[in-house]
Structure formats: C-alpha cells, structure tokens
Symmetry: C2
Subunit: 210 residues, 2 copies
DNA sequence: GCTAAATTTAAACGGTCGTTTGAATGAATC
DNA sequence: GATTCATTCAAACGACCGTTTAAATTTAGC
C-alpha cells in the first residue's frame, strides 16, 4: 500500500520520472513501455507501479512536475499585470502568458518543457483531455478575461477563436521548434519566442487595413 | 478482374482502409492493433499484411488516400492564381491553400480529413516525418514562393517562420475544431475556416501599427 | 471444366505488454 | 535485539502484439 513518504524525496521516484519523461517525449506514451522506463532508470520494473500506481498515473506525474511551475508563473505574471494601474495591451498579456519561458530561471525549464508540452498535446485526446483539463483549466479562463479587457471591442466568442489559434501557433513552435529548412539552436529559442509574439499579437488584434 | 462493384459491398482493401482510418483517428497509431482493424473491417487478420505489407505501410496508404486529392487541389489553385495577370494578395494565397476544404466537392472530404490530418500531425516525429515529407514536400515550397511574391519586403527566413505558425494555427483548428467552451457544428466548419483566414492573414502580414 | 493465379482463412510463431505476487531487504522504533 | 513497515526484488501472470505459414477457397484465362 502506497504510504506518503513525505520525507526526503526517493531517488527511485525521481529516476523513474526522469526516464519516463525523456522516453515519453521521444516515442510517445503508447510506444513507451514501463520496462523501457525502469530499465533506463535502473530500477526494478515493479517500482513504477509501487510509486505511481499505473502507467497513466506516471504520465500524469511527469506532466504535473513540469507544468505546475509554468502555470503558477503565468498566474503570477497576470496578477502583476492586473495590479498595475495603466491599462495593459494585448502584447502585455501575451508576454505574461509566455513569461515562464522567458525568465532567467527558465534555463533548466527550457531543456525539457517545450518537448514535453508538445508531446502531450500530440497524444490522443482520450489521454490528454484529463491531463489538460486538470492542469490548464483555471489559467485559460483568466487569460481570456484579460484579453477581453485589452480588446474590449471584440466579442467574447470571437476572442476565444483567436486565442484558440494562438495556442496552435505556440504548440507548433514547441513541437517542431523551427520551420522545415531552418535550424534553431537552443540559444535561439528566445528569438523564436519573439517571432511568435509578433505573429500572435497581429492575429489577436487583427487591425485590418484593407 | 474486380468489376466496379462500387455499390454496397466494398473490397477487402477498402474495408481495411476505412476501418484503419477511423481507428487511427480515434486512438492513434501505436494504440491501434491490426486485430482491432481487421475485426472492425470484418476481414481476416492476415489480409492486412497481404494487401499492405506492414502496419506502417497501411498507415501510409490511409494517409495517402485522403491527402493526395488535397495536395493536388492546392497545386491547381495555386496554378490558377499564378496564371491570372493581376498580382495576388496574401489572402489569395491563404485561400488557395485552404481551397480543398472550401469547395463543393469537399463535402465528403470534410467528414474525415480534418481529424486524420490532425491525428497524423500528432504522432511521434519518427512516424510522421516519412509520411509528411513524402506528401507535403513540393506543395510547401511552392506556397512559400507565392507568399514571398505577395510579401516582397519580408525576408525569406522570416517568412518561413510566419508560415510555420500559420500551419500551427491550422492544425489547431483541424485537431480540436472549436476552442474549449465553444461548440462547432459540422456546418460551421466553413465559418471556422473564415476565422482562421482572418487570423493567419493578420499574422502573415503583420502590419504593425504601434 | 481445367488449370493457375489471386485471395482468404485458421492457426501458430516468438515477443512484449501492464500488472501482480510474495519474499528479501533496509532502516527506524521500541 | 526484536518488531515494524516502507521499499526493492525476481519471477510469473494472462493478454495482446505484429508477423508468418501453409492450406483452403475463390477467381480468371483458356
């Protein structure tokens, strides 16, 4: 019976999480076996079930470990934006949403997060839906509200669509990094983020000139 | 020889393709077994290997059957655009790219295509890369050239990025149809496409006003 | 109608899968 | 030192996997 070992983190647990993370990213969930995970982690096969209960719960734990700080950072950035007195722009909101990937402490985060989010989004909906709803539910709503304040003339339904496409452009960057035929060095990722911001701000604002 | 028995009973080959298509869409490639496919198709298990050689080749056949008409339509629409004498706009190019999903004959296409493309794009790269390169290689290059003519002041590398994000927004629509909290009826898909066009044209042109 | 090729069939191949078991190990408590 | 309990371990469970085989059946050509 799993009893919460709140004491020092078990290194077995962490090694399983690390190995599962990199293998899930590379081959996807269904194509990654617990045997491959526990072998890479150099732990016994049964340890995975002992610590996580099931393969799906292991995936959820892998996802939560990385996404929780990002979601917290997004909420804090939005809090800070809303506390300031001057009205904020669409660009401000977009920057707040991407702030966890810009910050200095994002250095170790960027090693894994983009690939992981990209992979999770790529799994069949039956797998991802419980994960995404659990992790993203609150944040999306708050950012939609903020976007509505920055774009008061855009109907809410229309705004949801534009936010929808924005997520798509972001996922495309996270999954494939660079367009076909272009290489993106690890150091260029912030530059890629800047390009993403320009693109999605234009799409969100849609200041048609023609 | 197989007389055109197009009505009622379809061939073993087609029944396998149909069953594989819907199961791949629903559960993904790795999570779908050949036994599930051949059972749903009501054919013998070995028939899948007899007609297609391997599970991967079956996936390629499923993909090719649907994507080939789309790619052909995209090339024809671009041909028509380039034949006309007046210079074309970014919006013209985007419409040409999406034209196979607008046309009247797209009615039966829209039943499956969005889900299938979305699912293919969601598979691990090791699976999708051989498929996408085989099917999409030529079309992407020609559309990049056309976009460059419509946006002569944008450097080619920058244009590739914007096209990259555009694909992402399109995939997001194909995969999830509507944003969370909004429902999109089957008949609304053309309306969703119009919203997508507005969004990506703004992102591609990026006529910054601030 | 016979023959030969094309297709379908049942059965099995060797492996890998997620999960479970029960005993061995380790560390802390009394 | 004995007890307790969380953790690790080797081993096995039944199930399902993709693929192959060889015989049975259907189809087409003559």
């Amino acid at each position: 019976m799993p009893v919460a070992a709140t004491r020092g983190a078990s290194s077995t647990r962490e090694r399983i999480l690390d190995a599962a993370e990199s293998l899930f990213i590379e081959h996807g969930y269904a194509a990654t076996s617990l045997r491959a995970i526990t072998t890479a982690a150099d732990v016994n096969l049964a340890a995975a079930h002992y610590h996580f209960g099931s393969k799906f719960d292991l995936l959820a734990a892998v996802f939560h470990r990385r996404i929780e700080p990002v979601e917290r950072g997004r909420l804090e950035a939005l809090d800070a934006l809303e506390r300031q007195e001057a009205p904020f722009s669409v660009r401000d909101v977009v920057y707040a949403f991407l702030s966890p990937m810009y910050g200095a402490e994002a250095d170790d985060l960027l090693d894994v997060l983009p690939d992981l989010i990209g992979r999770i989004y790529a799994e069949p909906e039956s797998l991802t839906k419980p994960l995404l709803e659990g992790e993203f539910s609150g944040v999306a709503g708050r950012y939609l509200t903020a976007l509505g304040q920055a774009l008061p003339d855009v109907p809410p339904a229309e705004l949801r669509w534009r936010f929808h496409f924005t997520i798509g452009a972001m996922i495309q960057l996270l999954r494939f990094r660079a367009p076909l035929g272009l290489t993106a060095e690890r150091a260029d990722f912030v530059g890629s983020l800047d390009r993403l911001v320009d693109y999605v701000v234009a799409g969100l604002e849609q200041e048609r000139t023609s």
